[in-house]
Subunit: 494 residues, 2 copies
């Protein structure tokens, strides 16, 4: 059975226990692991590191593709095992530790981690811990449900521990496309001309000498929450469908649109599902995470091809998709995140990007990470890789949060992740603001009129009018600009 998964006898000898593997990780080390939006993460060694840290002095720098599943980040943080974490996380315990200053966190564009490692801007990697479906005869490994940064981690880490996951069907082999543009000054073109372009090889090259141990697991990826859209997201999806229809009417888009990217989570899932009963067809995706909705669109015959870096599914979709993976495989590619999120490819393909805002301001600047400008939620992720370079950059958010206590449109965002230059369209349940070709004062009028909840509209209008009297290209009242957030901190309401 294990021979099916590990095609080299020398490596079969290196199977070790999770505890043994964890004991190799020493205090102060830099550890890099697979895992992107809960998919393809370490199920054995990292949790064992967290357990070991309860009784051993053990504090590491941990870099990943993106978020991990199974509460692993929380267990590591709780055990005090994390000195530094990058480039993304979604764990509530880790989040608290980051905001308390106990864990240092580098919030980074997901396309850039590989660049920083290659450039030597980050310290060298002591251990890579990589989940694999298979180790081939040449030592190369077939990843599982994500690629993330695994290829660059395997290339640059001093030593490698592989977790062979027997629950992942062998049929995943062939879905991955591993490519690197090389190193300065001899970097090459990334020759992707459409989402279905296959430019690399199906497995990650690994020097077998570096493989120190192999741990066997049969634990599944953490399930994503089953997406059930609410009234607000349904309205957002409706506004967006109307907008796309209008663009087709005006001749700027075809009914096949352009390659779609959608951020992670319920809103994105719900919006993509909006295409199922739409006029649009022959869609493609050039995205980072492929979620339940991607497979709904395949099943509905709406989607021709999807490129991403991970597949993150709810429990029932996991069964459906990986139970019969051959049904989908030839319409999918999983790429390293420096390729799925490549700024040049995103611009070349003319991607339509749809990402979630935490809040936006009247000029169209977007905060997607910091509550009241200070407390980290998850991280910027890949949103700005796409927003900055897409053909159309769309941000969506409910017009209010916390039962109406918080307006998602504010005078001035308390933290900027996406500047107004990089935001073309803002959609809330209230409506859609098309900001293309508008100057800041025009943007403010369109945003206030179309996207703001009625409970906040008058106050925002008043802020804007009073600011305009004071003048400026981007009028503001500095003494009042962040007062809504200050009020939220002090009273729990804006």
């Amino acid at each position: 059975m294990l021979h099916e998964r590990i095609h080299r006898n020398d490596l079969l000898q290196r199977v070790i226990s999770r505890e043994e593997a964890a004991s190799r990780i020493k205090n102060g080390m830099v550890v890099a692991t697979s895992g992107f939006t809960k998919a393809g993460d370490s199920k054995e060694v990292l949790p064992a590191v967290a357990e070991r840290a309860l009784t051993h002095p053990l504090k590491i720098t941990l870099m990943t593709g993106a978020s991990l599943g199974h509460g692993t980040d929380g267990k590591l943080a709780e055990a005090g095992a994390l000195a530094m974490r990058l480039p993304f996380q979604v764990d509530p315990v880790l989040r608290r530790k980051i905001n308390d200053g106990e864990v240092l966190f580098i919030d980074q564009h997901l396309s850039e981690t590989a660049e920083y490692i290659k450039a030597g801007h980050f310290p060298p990697i002591d251990y890579a811990i990589i989940e694999a479906a298979q180790i081939l005869a040449d030592g190369s490994i077939v990843p599982t449900t994500s690629v993330g940064n695994s290829a660059i981690f395997c290339q640059l880490a001093r030593r490698i521990i592989i977790e062979v996951n027997t629950v992942v069907p062998l049929s995943v082999a062939g879905v991955h496309d591993i490519f690197s543009a090389g190193t300065y000054p001899n970097r090459t073109v990334i020759p992707i001309l459409s989402p279905d372009c296959r430019i690399g090889r199906p497995s990650i090259p690994v020097d077998p000498e570096k493989i120190e141990g192999i741990v066997i697991t049969n634990i599944r990826d953490s399930a994503a929450e089953a997406a059930s859209g609410d009234a607000s997201t349904a309205k957002i999806a409706g506004h967006l469908m109307d907008f796309f229809s209008w663009e087709v009417t005006k001749g700027r888009l075809k009914e096949s649109l352009q390659p779609l990217q959608a951020g992670i989570g319920k809103v994105a899932n719900s919006i993509l599902r909006g295409f199922v009963d739409s006029r649009f067809h022959d869609l493609t995706m050039y995205s980072e995470v492929l979620q339940d909705s991607t497979f709904d669109l395949f099943d509905a015959g709406k989607l021709n091809f999807a490129s991403g870096s991970s597949i993150t599914l709810s429990e029932s979709y996991y069964d459906k998709v990986f139970g019969d993976f051959g049904k989908y495989k030839n319409r999918l590619i999983l790429r390293p995140q420096e390729i799925s999120n490549s700024v040049g490819v995103i611009r070349r393909l003319g991607v339509i990007s749809i990402n979630t805002a935490l809040e936006c301001d009247i000029y169209g600047n977007v905060n997607s990470t910091h509550v009241t400008g200070t407390h980290m939620m998850n991280g910027i992720g890949g949103s700005e890789d796409f927003a900055r370079n897409s053909y159309l950059s769309i941000f969506v958010t409910s017009s209010v949060a916390k039962g109406g206590a918080v307006s998602s449109v504010v005078p001035m965002v308390s933290h900027v992740d996406h500047t107004e230059h990089d935001v073309d369209i803002i959609v809330t349940d209230e409506g859609l603001a098309d900001l293309r070709g508008l100057s800041p004062r025009q943007r403010a009028r369109v945003i206030i009129e179309n996207t703001v909840h009625r409970d906040y509209r008058e106050r925002l209008q008043s802020y804007f009018e009073r600011a305009v009297k004071r003048g400026g290209h981007t009028p503001h009242l500095l003494e009042e600009a962040l007062s809504w957030h200050r009020s939220l901190q002090e009273t729990g309401r804006m």
Copy 2:
């Protein structure tokens, strides 16, 4: 004589006066002109439009490559001829009109204007007014000292007026490299693998039927200010040279560094001149504006090749460079700004970008456009095309401005152009902050310690410490975060 400049008899018949040309421009039209950082702009027709607007109702949308020379923007604004202007400007009169809300201004990444026009996000162009050194037999035109957006303007404008400038030597022919990656969904790769890659053709294709008139001029480009570095910029240059030396010592860079980009102005000029007496050699540039300092580096034998979109020189350098252009031509390429500023190429080549900040905050966010968050200076220009995608993103600024009344490092920037994700190094006359691999709280300590003027250091330190007590990944005191700017508005001092 004119036959040397215009190689078609049919077009020789279309020579008209500047007034006649200006009369074609009607109220409400969208006009697109050549011109990038004062180089290769319209010297006859646009000024004539400004004159005409004094007596005729005439309000246009004006898009360019970047800034114009000869006070043309100011004359147009003064005459009330501008309804909207994009994507960049540097004129004091126009600046006032923008901040008063009389002229709408779209401040845009310079790589993106062409994208927005092609995508139909902007209205169609009625007239393109393009300066040329020559019109060839096939109707194509040889640009002069800049390429900017001229190629896309010629392609998409309904009608074209050409200004043939006889003061530009014919020897400029061959320095330009005109390339377009095409339109969706069939866009191709931009195959530049090093700054000296020539990928296109030497002239801009033009449909001769669209050429409505040709105006002859012999006016030179506006001269750039002769750069004379002051004590502060000399210190900044010194800190940067030390840093690059350190990077070579650590093995992260070679003495040839990587392709350099430098923003426009005295500081950039002064820094580039710092390389003349340095250990570095075989340098290359992949930049947007080539200034006096580029030619100093050529003359010093330090620079092998420079790629840009314009050549903007002081008066004496203009004589030197264009008096004997053959001496430099084979080490230069001028490209369309969507290519000189291409996000994918910048990342592929690993450009080291050096841009000027108006202010930065303790976490490394940079404001390069808005005084007190409200009043536009010039525009973001191409700085973020480079900063976001470069191998090393460096921002420079004097530690104080206005004779010490203003600190360039503040608790929170009043406007964000470059988020902390896109800022690796901050240099002031006080010192250099290397922010690579640091989390926000670490960044704050390094910035406060190394870059802040002593008059402001203690206050910033106090702000940071009190903010940390309140917690958060990016600690702030919202009620105080913008108080330095408010004080500047009210008292003229921070």
